[in-house]
């Protein structure tokens, strides 16, 4: 009996959300009186996988099959299911990423497991029940879900738990094979295209986000957003009307029908705060709103606010960040 943690890697590195998931998995294992093993997917280095010991992982399984570098739903599902059977895992933990959620749902059928996605807290195991708190109603509420059956799968929302770093602890890295065949790669991608990300920071994983709305008046003014984002090491984002008129690409749209984010800091510039936009950002730890309209509804959801013109305020903020050094 163990806890199996699915760790996503890219370019040799373990993704930030997977470091969070590794910590979460180690804590679940401690709750259940067992250890946490990881199965790594994507392109990883042995040295980086060994460092998962810092998050409390004791063992990491890694299949060096080169076709696993990119996400292949069937192959990843078989790989993780094989690892789960080998380790007799009763609880499987993934990131609530596009990969984690897509694989988790297939795994739940294959392994006859109950599944909670979008988990925001550690599970509770009182009264013989296994209860997971998850985000629902697009961030406007939570639901406590009872997972039944012998096997459980939890997909953990990004930024809902902090990754631990206990220096010096290492995990044992073991090679692993799921005996994958050509048929398992039938839905392999024919091409992978990476988008331009401001400062190389991925919006879904970002700790800080600077976001612009129609108050920015046009795409030519986005330099002000990018300057502040660069100074803060933040990702850039936008509201739906902005992506609808192609001022910014769709992959930057946050909101109910866009990307849901939960960074430590969300700075909304020239966004009035429609309820659909709030639904995508209201689990951010600190929300800052800059808007010249003091009646903008976003101020009601904000922790800090500036009533003022974004064209005047943003350069001042960027300068102040640079002064901090």
């Amino acid at each position: 009996m163990s806890v199996l943690v699915v760790v996503e890697c890219a370019d040799g590195e373990v993704k930030k959300s997977s470091l969070e998931v590794a910590t979460y998995g180690a804590e679940v294992a401690a709750m259940l009186g067992t250890t946490a093993t990881a199965i790594a997917v994507g392109e990883a280095t042995e040295a980086n996988l060994a460092k998962l010991g810092e998050q409390g992982i004791t063992k990491v399984l890694y299949d060096a099959e080169p076709r696993l570098k990119d996400f292949v739903n069937n192959a990843y599902t078989k790989l993780i299911a094989t690892a789960a059977e080998q380790e007799q895992a009763k609880v499987i933990i993934l990131a609530n990423s596009n990969i984690g959620a897509a694989v988790g749902s297939r795994l739940s059928v294959r392994l006859k497991a109950s599944l909670a996605t979008n988990a925001v807290e550690l599970p509770k195991t009182d009264n013989g029940q296994f209860v997971v708190r998850r985000g629902a109603f697009s961030g406007k509420a939570f639901s406590d879900v009872v997972l039944s059956g012998e096997r459980k799968i939890i997909a953990v929302k990004k930024n809902s738990t902090e990754a631990k770093h206990e220096a010096g602890k290492t995990a044992e890295v073991q090679s692993f094979t799921a005996q994958l065949t050509d048929a398992d790669f039938a839905d392999a991608p024919t091409q992978v295209v990476m988008q331009d990300q401001a400062g190389g920071i991925l919006l879904p994983e970002a700790d800080r986000v600077v976001s612009g709305g129609r108050g920015m008046k046009g795409p030519e003014n986005w330099g002000l957003i990018e300057d502040l984002a660069k100074a803060l090491h933040a990702a850039t984002a936008c509201s739906k009307p902005v992506s609808d008129v192609d001022w910014r690409p769709h992959h930057e749209h946050v909101g109910q029908t866009g990307i849901t984010v939960s960074p430590n800091l969300y700075i909304a510039c020239g966004i009035s705060g429609a309820i659909q936009h709030l639904a995508g950002v209201n689990s951010s730890k600190v929300i800052v709103v800059i808007n010249k309209d003091p009646e903008a509804p976003f101020f009601k959801a904000a922790d800090y606010g500036i009533v003022g013109d974004v064209f005047d305020v943003l350069p001042k903020l960027t300068a102040a960040v640079k002064e901090l050094g």
């Binding site: 897509a102 059928v109 599944l115 697009s138 961030g139 904000a302």
Partner: protein, 246 residues
């Protein structure tokens, strides 16, 4: 080509979320229900592909009780050919997936489309479960879908980019923007929808694997701290020293 498009009946996106006094159920009083916005992408794209091919059918499937029929009729008005309602309150993703898989198996559909998630439960689970139950590929979430005979080319969103995936029918895809511009029904569509077939079938399968014990609302915010615009730099000091987020 036979398309099966699965739609959920969800609270309107502007709904203020509240629960019954025991926090066990969503409070539906006074709430307008709509087709799940993500599912509208699936529905419109299926209709577009059928129209482009000049043949085929689009069947709408909903797992829900009789009160979902206005939105099923709306989907028919948008351009679907017929509809199936599995007569049961959706219990959890597994239960819903079982119903979809059973209907898909029975009807021999080539392409099964749905939104990437519903805006109420936010599970992002049903498409993968259906694919696994039927033993066919799942592409989720898909931003683009083109068909050439029985071969589909899809763009699948990954963190920081996209994958181009080619699959042959049958397959499942969950849809999201910018796949298409969702359509709204016109008067002719509304009139013809009234006479399109809507079949009601009983639920099948095993019981749900998860149950909601309780709902909760996020803690209320303490209120905004306003910083004068002329002293905007002060905000950065507060974010570092007080909020400790930079």
């Amino acid at each position: 080509m036979k398309f099966l498009v699965c739609i959920s009946n969800v609270p309107d996106t502007t709904t203020k979320i509240t629960f019954t006094p025991d926090n066990k159920e969503f409070n539906k009083a006074g709430v307008q229900f709509v087709i799940n916005p993500w599912d509208e992408y699936a529905l419109t794209r299926a209709i577009e592909l059928k129209e482009a091919a000049g043949s085929g059918t689009v069947t709408v499937l909903n797992v829900g009780e009789a009160d979902t029929e206005p939105n099923i009729r709306k989907a028919l008005a948008i351009g679907a050919d017929d509809a199936i309602r599995v007569n049961a309150a959706p219990q959890d993703a597994f239960f819903v997936a079982e119903q979809i898989a059973a209907v898909a198996k029975e009807g021999g559909y080539d392409v099964i489309l749905m939104g990437k998630e519903s805006i109420d439960y936010n599970g992002f689970q049903v498409h993968g479960m259906v694919g696994e139950m039927l033993g066919i590929p799942t592409v989720a979430p898909a931003m683009k879908l083109d068909m050439n005979g029985n071969t589909a080319t899809l763009e699948r969103e990954i963190e920081g980019g996209k994958e181009i995936v080619t699959v042959t029918t049958p397959f499942v895809a969950s849809c999201q923007q910018p796949m298409c511009e969702p359509r709204i029904p016109n008067m002719r569509g509304i009139m013809t929808a009234r006479t399109k077939p809507l079949k009601v079938v009983p639920p099948v399968g095993e019981p749900a694997r998860t149950q909601v014990a309780e709902y909760a609302l996020p803690p209320k915010k303490q209120g905004v701290k306003l910083i004068p615009a002329e002293n905007a730099g002060e905000l950065i000091k507060l974010l570092r020293n007080e909020a400790k987020v930079i």
